[in-house]
Amino acid sequence: MNKFHIKKDYYGGALMILIGLSAVFASIQYKLGTLSHMGPGFFPCAVGSLLALTGLLIAISAGEEKPNPGPSLGHPTGMPDIRGGVCIILSILAFIGCGRYLGLLPATFAVVFISALGDRQNTVKQALVISAIMMVIAAGVFWYALQLQMPLFKWDF
């Protein structure tokens, strides 16, 4: 576990350096200005360099034995499950697509049904039932009562 932990800090530090440097690179394309008259690029450039520096420090301290960092992070830190992850991402994409072209009810069905299939214990029937319940809520609460600005059905290609 320890080895993986150290590796994680290397990757984490490297990622921060990457983000920081790209922010610096992007901000020097805007006007930097001087301290008394800062241009739009000054602040992002400063924050970006600080982030890169912090990333460097994270990566440097990664090699050393780390003491217990106090209170737990409160979230699982393992890799996400492939099927679950893919289904959740697909469900968001499906919501965007159906919401754009087909309307609220198809979009609701898409997001709930596809993400429900991401759980390995859900059967197709159970997924259908949850989607049906959510479609009722979508129509009753959001469309009718809260007047959501999306038609229930549309055909807009």
Partner: protein
């Protein structure tokens, strides 16, 4: 003094108005409900219901959001005590002694104690807020851009170093949040920055989408098929919830101490809720005559952390409302909600919008009473809710996120942001980063930049302006001390770790 009481009376008048009372009740109920659900905390609850407030009047909107906040906090304790399931990280320490009490058949007592402690602590927090806010406001009127920048700097540093996990990573996440806050139109020159040619980004990243991505979708991505199924066989009766006189006596001083810890931590900008409850628990164990009994169902181990989390919740509102500087991620969301309503929190808030400020304070009290009354009969329902499997829960939550985000601007573009930040948040969390500081950075980012630029414009580019003005110099000094302190304790911890490698890991609370 009598002025404050008079204003408070006015506040009660506001809070008891039909619509306000209704939305406050709704907020408390929904917050409590969502807080009980596994894996959902105040952050996800508030971000899911935030879009609802766009069409509301500001007063009921803010009363509802505050109700969600403390309601969900109370709900979180139920899962921790009855099921050893910290649905929200601050309650992780409550599990340590609360769950053993449940196993010993005293779960009801633990809940009863929690309820009493929460109410006591919240009341103290509210009192502090009533009397401290006007004082703070008077000082705050003397603040110029230099002071505001320094205090925000302190808040950001405290928020990143004292939250969960490694301080360096916290700093990195805060900086990342600041970068996210830069996206959009530059206020001073009007030019688009970091918008990658996407016109929808000219208003900046949407707070709600970011929060939903980081605390909703990212959480689902990590937990799907990883969350263990739980079985509930706890039977609860209302009679069980009444603690005996001896138990109340045992809980009294821990409750007072926990409240004090929470008040101090709440007043400090940037200190997260988790660190507060951990400090309260550690303090109890340190001064207890029987420290070895902790973890086996000590009442003090439940009373103190729960009291601290509730007094902190109330006191947290002081810097948010009177300075406009949010203490943690939840406060950042509430501040964002006020900004969306066109209300700028800060020293002027109390005079310009007394209805919001005093109504909010009065509604805290009313809300906490509602919470007490509500939880006695509903406890059976909460216990059943705890058993709702995650596999039904997250697809439904996905729908609420999607619709909620759509309503923020009636456009689907924001869903792309949710997707992006869901993936980014997952990546960060897999790499052991804590994502809450991002939200703090995002909300504070534009304000930090504006005040930094304005201060340096006034001083003609002289960086020592931040040290020349006494109030500002104090904040810079505290920030420096904090940074030195964190570095030193990290270094000392490392030395100690070299001497005696495996210390008892606190991660027992993780499960």
């Amino acid at each position: 003094m009598s002025g404050a009481l008079h204003d408070l009376w006015y506040g009660f008048g506001i809070a008891f108005q039909g619509t306000n009372l209704k939305w406050s009740f709704f907020g408390v109920l929904v917050g409590n409900l969502i807080g009980v659900l596994p894996g959902m905390g105040a952050l996800s609850a508030i971000s899911m219901l935030l879009p609802l407030t766009y069409v509301m009047h500001p007063v009921p909107a803010i009363l509802m959001l505050a109700g969600i906040f403390y309601g969900s906090q109370y709900g979180g304790a139920i899962g921790a005590i009855l099921l050893n399931l910290p649905s929200h990280p601050p309650h992780a320490v409550t599990c340590l002694d609360g769950y053993p009490m449940t196993k010993a058949g005293k779960g009801g007592t633990a809940l009863g104690i929690t309820m009493i402690c929460s109410f006591f602590a919240a009341s103290v927090g509210i009192l502090v807020m009533i009397f401290a806010s006007p004082l703070l406001t008077e000082i705050a009127f003397k603040f110029g851009p230099a002071e505001i920048f320094s205090i925000m700097l302190l808040g950001l540093i405290a928020g990143s170093t004292m939250s969960r996990g490694s301080p360096l990573k916290g700093v990195a996440m805060t900086l990342f949040g600041l970068l996210c806050g830069i996206v959009g139109t530059d206020v001073n020159t009007g030019s688009f920055r970091f918008s990658f040619g996407v016109t929808e980004l000219s208003d900046g990243l949407e707070l709600v989408s970011l929060a939903m991505g980081l605390f909703g979708v990212a959480d689902f991505l990590l937990n799907v098929n990883r969350m263990k199924a739980i079985t509930v066989n706890t039977k609860m009766r209302i009679r069980d919830m009444r603690p005996s006189m001896a138990e109340l006596k045992e809980a009294f001083w821990p409750m007072v101490r926990g409240t004090a810890v929470g008040t101090v931590f709440g007043a400090m900008p940037g200190t997260g809720p988790t660190i507060t409850t951990f400090v309260a628990y550690a303090l109890e164990r340190k001064i207890s005559k029987t420290p070895e009994k902790f973890g086996t169902g000590m009442i003090a181990g439940v009373a103190s952390p729960e009291a601290s989390s509730h007094s902190k919740t109330q006191v947290d509102f002081i810097p948010t409302m009177s300075l406009g500087i949010p203490g943690d991620a939840v406060m950042a969301l509430i501040l964002g909600a006020l900004l969306i309503q066109g209300i700028q929190p800060g020293p002027q808030l109390i005079t310009e919008h007394p209805d919001i400020f005093w109504g909010l304070i009065a509604s805290f009290w009313i809300g906490n009473v509602i919470l007490m009354i509500l939880n006695v009969p509903l406890i059976g329902i909460w216990v059943k809710l705890l058993a709702v499997p995650y596999r039904y829960l997250f697809p439904s939550a996905m729908f609420f996120i999607a619709v909620g985000v759509f309503t923020t601007k009636n456009s689907l573009f924001e869903m792309w942001e949710v997707l992006a930040f869901g993936v980014i948040g997952t990546l960060f969390m897999v790499l052991d980063f804590s994502v809450a500081p991002i939200l703090l950075g995002l909300v504070l980012g534009p304000m930090v930049e504006e005040n930094f630029r304005r201060a340096l414009l006034l001083s003609r580019g002289d960086m020592t302006i931040f040290l020349q003005r006494p109030i500002s110099a104090t904040f810079v000094g505290i920030s420096t001390l904090l940074l030195i302190g964190v570095t030193w304790s990290a270094w000392r911890g490392k030395q100690r770790a070299k001497l005696l490698p495996p210390i008892v890991p606190e991660s027992a609370a993780q499960s």
